[in-house]
Structures are given as C-alpha cells and as structure tokens.
C-alpha cells in the first residue's frame, strides 16, 4: 500500500532553510578563501569556466529537459546578458556611478537577467506554434541573428541607433569584479530553482507539457504560458551567467554566443540525460574540463590516429563476433574477464598513485583521482558485482586495441599514399575535442538514448540503492 510521504513540518522548515543557505555560503567562502589562492591562474580559469558551463547546461535543462522544447540557441541568452550588463558597466561604473563592486555586480546580474528574459519571451512566442525540429531551427536562427546583430553593432553606419558594443571586435568591460564564489553561487541557485520546480505541482505542469501537450491542455495546463515561462526562466539564468562571464573575462566577443557554443550546451544536456538536473550539471562540468585535461597529452600523429580508428572498428567487430558465438556465456571466459576486471582496478589504483605524485594541475588531478576512485568503489564495493566482468571484458578489448594498433600503424606507413600525405601531420589531443564530443554523443545515443542519468536525480536514496539497501515504498507493480 503506497502512501504519500509529507515532506513539510513547520517547525523545522525555516531552520533547515537557514542552515542550508549558511552551509552553501560557508562552503563557497571556504573554497574562495582557502583553496583558490593556492591554485595558479590557469586552474582557477578552467574551474570558473567549467562552473559557468555547468550553469548554462542546468539552465538549458529547464527548457530542453523539463519542458521538452528543443532549443538550440541558448548561447544567445548568455551573450545578451553579457553584452547588456557589460555595456552598462563600461559606460557607467567609475565614470558616472561610484558603487561597491559587489552591489554593482548584483545590479548588473538583474540587468542581464531581465534583458535575457525579454529575449526569452521573443523566442518563446514562436514556440507557441512550433514543435521539435521546427522549433530547433527557429531557436538556432535566433542565436545566429543575435550573433550577426552584435557583429555589426560597432557604432558605425550599419549599427542600429549607432550603438557601439564593439562590433566584430570585442566589448571591453574593463572591470574584473566576478570571483569564483559568485559563479558557484549562481550554479547553486540555478540547481535549486530547477529542483524546487520539480518538487512542486508547478513542475508537474512543465513535465506534462513535455510528455503530451494536447493532454496537458485538456486537463487545464496553459501549455503556451508554460513554454514561455520556461524560455524566460532558462534565458534569464543563462543571462545571469553571461553577466558573471563579462565581469570575469572583462571582454566579450560575438563568438562567445556562436552556434558551436549552443551545440556544446545542448550536447551537455543530452549526454547528461534530458530532464536530469544532476546529469546536466555533471556533463556540463565534465565536458568543459575534458578538453583542458587533454592538453597534457603529447601530440598524436595522424597515422597513429588512423590506426586507432581502424583498430577500434576491428575490435568492435571482434567483440560483436564474440557475443554472437556466445563466448560471453562461457564460464571460463567470464572467470577470465572477472580476473581482468580486478587487474584493471589495480591498474587504476596505480594510475591514481602516479597521478597523485605527478605535477599536473591540481584541478585535473583531483578530478581524475575522484573519477577513478568512484569507478573502483562502484566496481568492487557495491553488492551487485555484475559490472566487474563487463569492465574486464572492456579492458580486454582495450588491451587488444593497444596490441593491434602497432602493426596496423606499421602497415599504414607502408602505403605510399598515406605515408606521403599524413606522415608529418600531428594533432594535439585538445584539438580533437569536437571529434571526442561527437563520438561520446554517438556512443551515449547508441548505448543509453535517454542520456547517462536518464531521468534520475542524485539523492541519498539512489546512493543507498546503489549500495544494495532497497529503499522503502518504491516497488513497481506488474
């Protein structure tokens, strides 16, 4: 028998609310005062921009994931917020207005969020009639219109009202006010707003619009209004992120709102899992850190890269054949893969040790160690050890790949056409990030079309279930 659990008790409510606000501020303050000064400028910049991207991804999730309106112009809201506030700051702060920078930043956040929110209404209105692909094209067009408009606003004859916001050069804001904790706070607020929405009945009206617009309308949900509100909310939060970016970077360029940027944010939401706040946040953070982490790897030759691609195709074909011949069900094979799983966990542990000793930037170090430790814990300590043989299987495939890569590369070197044209070409791994995104997007779509987290959210309940304690009241009836 299922019952509705009531989450509200008046006495505790305000205590918990106050405590959580204080805890968030203390946490961000501690990072700002204790950890940030110890990092070098490069690391701080990576971390800050990663948090900004996570904010954008979570705010887009309100439109794409929760309300189901596929928007591909999210970076436009970001630059609108950045340009609106940046222009005001560059014209007024310290010239006609003398104000505490923190208060000024707060004021600018409001300005940027309102500007982006108004833009949200402009895009939201066509969405009254458009769905799916058509809406995606319209929002994409909106993003391009904004970028090209800004490109031409240099105060010259092609500008509207002779407004000078730098045109195809940059807008110089000239004040670096944003600190790491501002962006952290905005991310927390964005996550809190999304989560609060989903916890109340208002969130259900957004979700129902995503699920079935006609039915939602028939039970009295004003779907038009809901869609516009989603665009305004997502747009305003992205605009606020843009404001913080403008006052962090001190310059804003039209290409900060390029289509590539919008695609990247969409990729984050899709990979993280449409509708999952946790997924959007993690994917946003990871997809902005990974290209930076790739920089530590040495350049890779084009022929080696080609050999790896050919090797992957060979290995995947091989793996398909193995499964077809049902070697997977073979006891000896599964024992072997289990042992390989243990061995690979050991290898990960060794990698953690070397990473710990190495001199790479602490941000990447912490993230690498965190992910590796989490994998080891998930593989070895959770009661469902079924993933261990699969991990072993995967590791065997990786070993096979590494083994056959060498002869394939040697073979490719022998082909004159390839040797003459590609032998001298090398790529830095971070240049390959788009290929990497594309591949990870393809893999995620093939293996888990609902995104890595699907509709799941992080909760202690989920963690408890991961570690084998069945949670109460979740039985699904047949």
């Amino acid at each position: 028998m299922a019952t509705v659990a009531h989450s509200y008790s008046p006495a505790r409510f305000w205590t918990v609310r106050l405590a959580s606000v204080v805890a968030v501020l203390l946490f961000l303050g501690a990072i700002q005062l204790l950890i940030i000064p110890k990092l070098n400028g490069y690391d701080v910049r990576i971390l800050t921009l990663a948090l900004l991207m996570a904010t954008l991804s979570v705010s887009l999730n309100i439109v794409n994931g929760i309300t189901g309106q596929f928007s591909m112009g999210h970076a436009a809201f970001y630059v609108i917020g950045a340009y609106a506030s940046g222009k005001v700051t560059s014209v007024m702060l310290d010239k006609s207005v003398h104000m505490n920078p923190q208060l000024w930043l707060l004021l600018m956040v409001v300005v940027g969020a309102v500007a982006a929110g108004i833009a949200g209404i402009v895009v939201g209105l066509p969405s009254l009639r458009l769905k799916g692909d058509y809406l995606a094209i319209v929002t994409m067009g909106f993003g391009e219109i904004v970028r090209i408009f800004i490109n031409n606003q240099d105060g010259g004859s092609s500008s509207l009202f002779h407004l000078d916001i730098g045109g195809s050069y940059q807008l110089k804001v000239g004040h670096k006010i944003t600190e790491f904790w501002h962006i952290g706070l905005l991310l927390v607020i964005t996550i809190a707003i999304s989560r609060n929405l989903l916890k109340t009945i208002h969130g259900l009206s957004f979700l129902s619009t995503r699920e079935d617009e006609l039915a939602a309308n028939a039970v009295g949900v004003n779907t038009t209004m809901t869609k516009v509100v989603a665009f305004v909310l997502g747009g305003a939060l992205a605009g606020a992120a843009g404001v913080l970016f403008a006052h962090y970077n001190t310059t804003v360029a039209p290409d900060d709102g390029a289509m590539a940027q919008s695609f990247l944010i969409v990729a984050m939401v899709v990979i993280g899992g449409m509708g999952s706040i946790t997924g959007a946040c993690i994917a946003g953070f990871a997809l902005s850190i990974v290209p930076e982490a790739l920089r530590r790897f040495p350049p890779i030759g084009a022929i080696d890269l080609l050999a790896i691609v050919v090797g992957i195709i060979a290995v995947i074909t091989l793996a398909g054949q193995l499964t077809k011949r049902s070697i997977d069900q073979n006891k000896g094979w599964s024992a072997f893969t289990t042992v390989m799983g243990y061995l690979f966990c050991l290898a990960l542990a060794v990698a953690i040790w070397f990473n710990f000793k190495s001199t790479v930037s602490p941000v990447i170090k912490v993230i690498f160690i965190g992910i590796s430790l989490a994998s080891i814990v998930a593989l070895l300590l959770t009661p469902a050890k079924a993933s261990l043989p699969r991990f072993g299987h995967f590791s065997v495939l990786v070993l096979v790949l590494l083994a056959i890569k060498v002869p394939i590369a040697a073979l490719l070197h022998k082909i004159p056409l390839v040797e003459n044209n590609l032998a001298q070409t090398t790529y830095t791994p971070s240049d390959l990030r788009w290929a990497l995104f594309a591949i990870s997007l393809i893999v995620v779509m093939l293996v888990r079309p609902q995104g890595i987290l699907g509709h799941y959210e992080w909760s202690w309940d989920l963690a408890a279930r991961l570690f084998g304690r069945p949670s109460a009241g979740k039985e699904v009836a047949a």
Binding site: M1, T200, V221, V476
Partner: protein, 260 residues
C-alpha cells in the same frame, strides 16, 4: 422551453464543423441535464470524437454554438474550457508516460492551484503544503478507480485497462462538472467492463458528475446510459432513451447498412 428552468449543463445548437469540403459534424443539437449519464454512439467515422474535440475546444465550430451552463464556450482554448469544468479522456490513451501514476493525477489537480510560480521556485511552505494537499487528493482519486497500489509505478508500464482507469482519475482530478469519456471500455475484457460500469455509475451518484461517453460496446452503453444520441456521417439520426434507440429503424440501418 420554460423560463424558470436552469440552463442545461451542456447545450449544442446546430454545431457544425467543416474540414475543407468534408462536413465532419453537421448541425448536431442536444442538451445534457445535470446528473445525466449520456451516451454518444454511432458507426466508425460518424464524428463522435470530432464532437468531443468541438466541446473541449480542440476545434472551433464552423457554425452553431456550444453552451456550458448557459455560457458560450465555442472558440475558447482547451485549458480554459477545462478550467470551467469540462474534462475529457482520450480514445487513444494519452497519459504522461514517463511520469508516475500519482503524478499523472496530480497534474489533473494543477488547474486548482493557488500558489504562485515564485513561491514554487523558492520552495516556500505554502507551495510545499499545496503540493502535499494535491498529492493527498490524487491518492483519494486513485482509490476511487482502484489504482492506489500502483501509485508509484511509471504510467507507461501499466496494463491497458489500468491506463484507461488512470485517464479517468486524471480527468476527475480537475474536479469537472461534466466528464467526457471517449471509448472508456475499449480493449477491456467483460469483467473489466462490468467494473468500469460500476465506477462510472459511482462517479455520477457519489461524486455528482454529469457524464457524456462515447462507446462502441452496445451492452455497455445500453446498460449504463439513460439518454443516447446517435450520429451517422456527422448527422444526428436519433435521440432518446436506450429502449427507443434499440428499436429505431434508422439506427439499425446505420449499424447494419440496410435500406430502411
């Protein structure tokens, strides 16, 4: 019609809709009084669902008027009509598939919400209390349609018959005065149909709703409804209690395809 009589719950006056050259519903008129169990039948393609779509605002009538409690509702958007107290179920089930059974019903209650979006976004006590209240109400309704044991299941995972009952519960959650059921018994076995008849009767007797339903199963309609309108090719061919409908030669001709 006498002056003292209160207006009918639903009144169609020569409602017509044309799609290009096709007249889908042609000058259909009927009145539904408060507390009626009203049936709308007819062969496939007779315009029954189009009639529902006219009443709930999915389509705007080309001519004629539709009045709900004396107020014209033709041309209003569907969510406004739902707010006034008309709610429907769908012939091809349209649940919010990835939401839970309970959440599906809670969405139905959304139009009675009083808290603002702002209080929801900041998760204020008023919004939490209201959400809890709606969940309680939804749980009550799940008990009415006997689905409380699957409240936390994903609605797409339910078997067909339960999905139909869930749609009724979701429509009931809007607290409508008039409930429109589009083929509620389709795909059900005889036992489920008997249970459904009981449920629909209870919805009328205990919850005081007026019910208009489309159904193909004659035993179901004749056993349940007190007044029936028969449509064929968009035209109204008969109107009356089940006994007279059963004997009406036009109705027999429409169903069996014989000349009268």
């Amino acid at each position: 019609m006498s002056e003292a009589k209160p207006p009918a719950v639903l009144e169609l006056q020569e409602a017509t809709i044309r799609f290009g050259g096709l007249v889908a519903v042609n000058t259909v008129s009927f009145e539904i009084e408060k507390g009626d169990l009203f049936g709308l039948i007819g062969p496939n393609g007779a315009g029954k669902t189009t009639c529902f779509n006219l009443i709930t605002g999915v389509y705007k009538p080309t001519s004629g008027s539709i009045k709900f409690n004396g107020r014209s509702i033709s041309g209003l958007p569907p969510f406004k009509i739902a707010n006034m107290g008309i709610c429907r179920t769908f012939q091809n089930i349209r649940l919010f598939q990835s939401l839970s059974v309970l959440e599906n019903v809670v969405v139905g209650g959304f139009l009675r919400h009083k808290t603002t979006l702002g209080s929801a976004l900041t998760y204020l006590p008023s919004a939490i209390k209201e959400t809890d209240k709606f969940k309680d109400m939804a749980m009550e309704l799940l008990r009415v349609v006997d689905l409380e044991d699957v409240a936390n299941a994903r609605s797409a995972d339910l078997p067909y018959g339960k999905q139909r009952r869930l749609e009724i519960a979701r429509a009931m959650a809007t607290q409508p005065e008039l409930l429109l059921l589009d083929e509620p018994a389709a795909g059900m076995n005889p036992q489920e149909k008997m249970d459904l008849m009981e449920t629909v009767r209870r919805i009328r007797d205990e919850h005081g709703k007026t019910v208009l339903l489309i159904e193909h199963d004659m035993r179901f309609v004749m056993g349940l409804c007190e007044k029936i309108v028969v449509l064929d090719h968009g035209e109204e061919i008969a109107y009356g209690p089940p006994e007279s409908i059963r004997k009406d030669p036009k109705v027999i001709a429409a169903y069996l395809g014989e000349a009268v």
